[in-house]
């Protein structure tokens, strides 16, 4: 199982029956493939759909219905469409139970940076899209990301260096090595990936990790 799949499988366990959820692109969408049996969530596409699924077969598409990635989409029974103001009123207003999204960096206070890469002096890209609204509005924020960057440096920091998407917003961090929870006391190591030792996690984590006496392995 590669890192992406592992993160996605673990993230899927955070999907609770009846939850309204908004999933970022990449690993979060992948997580939807691993939702546990008997758990039904209502997915939101922030362009204004509730309850939908991608269509991938020619002939099933409708040019007038696509999700927030412009993937042709089918609205499921019980689903509906709303305009963009309503879609974000619902997001910002606390009506989304959980969001799962990626990050460039996340820190032990729950700060998160996920939209701003340097593009020149005072310039940033690619833009936040709907992420900042989701981080502030969703009842639970689950951040999925690889534990380290390509250079092997920790993306789980004491303090984010890149411009923040939101301050103190993240509740749970899931990487290919560990599950960590942001608490008032600090960042708590909740689970390690199968076969990964606590010290291995600590070695690649810049953040101060609070390590309980016993840290269970993820059950995937």
């Amino acid at each position: 199982m590669n890192a992406r799949e592992l993160i996605a499988r673990r993230a899927a366990q955070e999907f609770k029956d009846g939850f309204v959820m908004n999933l970022g692109f990449g690993i979060p969408v992948l997580a939807a493939s691993y939702i546990p049996e008997g758990v039904n969530v209502i997915l939101q596409a922030e362009n204004g759909i509730f309850e939908f699924e991608a269509v991938t077969k020619v002939g099933e598409q409708d040019a007038y219905i696509a999700d927030a990635a412009c993937q042709p989409t089918k609205i499921l029974p019980g689903g509906c469409t709303v305009d963009l103001a309503m879609s974000f009123a619902i997001i910002r207003g606390g009506h989304v139970d959980a969001t799962v999204l990626g990050a460039l960096e996340v820190d032990q206070e729950g700060n998160i940076a996920n939209w701003a890469l340097p593009a020149g002096p005072g310039k940033w890209m690619p833009g936040m899209g709907g992420a900042m609204d989701l981080l502030v509005g969703a009842k639970k924020v689950i951040c999925t990301l690889q534990h380290t960057n390509k250079k092997g440096e920790s993306k789980i920091l004491k303090k984010c260096a890149l411009p923040l998407s939101a301050a103190k917003a993240v509740d749970l961090i899931i990487t290919e090595l560990a599950v960590m929870e942001v608490t008032p006391q600090g960042l708590v190591l909740k689970e390690v990936a199968p076969g990964v030792a606590v010290d291995e996690v600590k070695a690649v984590t810049e953040a101060d990790l609070i390590v309980p006496d016993s840290v269970p392995e993820m059950v995937l």
Binding site: L84, A85, M125
Partner: protein, 238 residues
């Protein structure tokens, strides 16, 4: 009753160099593609573009063409990453970019159209979004003052219009209904124009009083074909 049905070019005559325009759609989907394509041909320039997100991924489609053709001086919205030309021009200094969170963009537009000075949002507190903005504290909690924005012209996409401008949407209306509130001149590109009364009163997504010109776009059949080809090309469909 004067019909608001207008020839594409007659409506687009309202878009002049240096103006601020809003364009509906989400990554090109339910966007006014015929109007955009014609704006590219007409070559109007130095535009400020207000939109929720940006062009369909990879460029060469919808509002991406306007950027590739260097008709946009300033972009106001939430994301440029789907449009390589926008990223390049931003880096080189040719394109000015003003970012707002997507939910803030749509509230700013709504405020502009609804006669509000702005809204107070918690989104962006503790981030770069605070820069240069007023804050208001309510019950001990900080909010950013996000001010109203309006455009000279809004170009929106509906499915059907009646001749007095009532718009029926199909699928995801996205930013189109809100933009219809917030411009001095509102152009609605649709697939069908019908007589008043043919759209049931409770099916109207944008009241006709907000719409200045109804123009026929590519029509339903061609729209379906355009997206089928696009999605097949990009392996979203097989």
């Amino acid at each position: 009753m004067k019909s608001k049905e207008t020839a594409l070019d007659a409506a687009l005559n309202q878009v002049k160099d240096g103006m601020t325009i809003m364009i509906g759609g989400f990554l090109g989907q339910n966007a006014p593609l015929a109007c955009i394509d014609r704006l590219v041909e007409r070559g109007v320039k130095d535009l400020t573009l207000i939109t929720a997100v940006n062009a369909y991924v990879g460029g060469g489609f919808g509002m991406g063409k306007l950027i590739e053709n260097k008709q946009i001086k300033k972009y106001i919205g939430s994301h440029i990453g789907t449009c390589p030309a926008a990223v390049e021009q931003y880096k080189s200094g040719e394109l000015e970019v003003e970012y707002y969170p997507q939910g803030t963009v749509i509230e700013k537009i709504r405020a502009g159209g609804a006669g509000l000075g702005g809204v107070l949002t918690p989104v962006g507190i503790g981030t770069l979004m605070e820069e240069g903005k007023q804050k208001v504290v309510i019950d001990g909690k900080e909010y950013l003052v996000e001010t109203a924005i309006k455009a000279d012209v809004a170009i929106i996409r509906g499915y059907k219009a009646d001749k007095v401008g009532n718009i029926l949407y199909r699928g995801t209306p996205n930013s189109n209904p809100v933009m219809a509130l917030a411009a001095d001149y509102v152009i609605a590109e649709v697939d069908y124009v019908v007589e008043p009364g043919e759209i049931a009163p409770d099916r109207v997504g944008t009241p006709g009083i907000l719409v200045d010109a109804v123009v026929l776009g590519y029509g339903e059949e061609k729209t379906q074909e355009i997206f089928k080809n696009l999605w097949v090309r990009d392996k979203k469909l097989a």
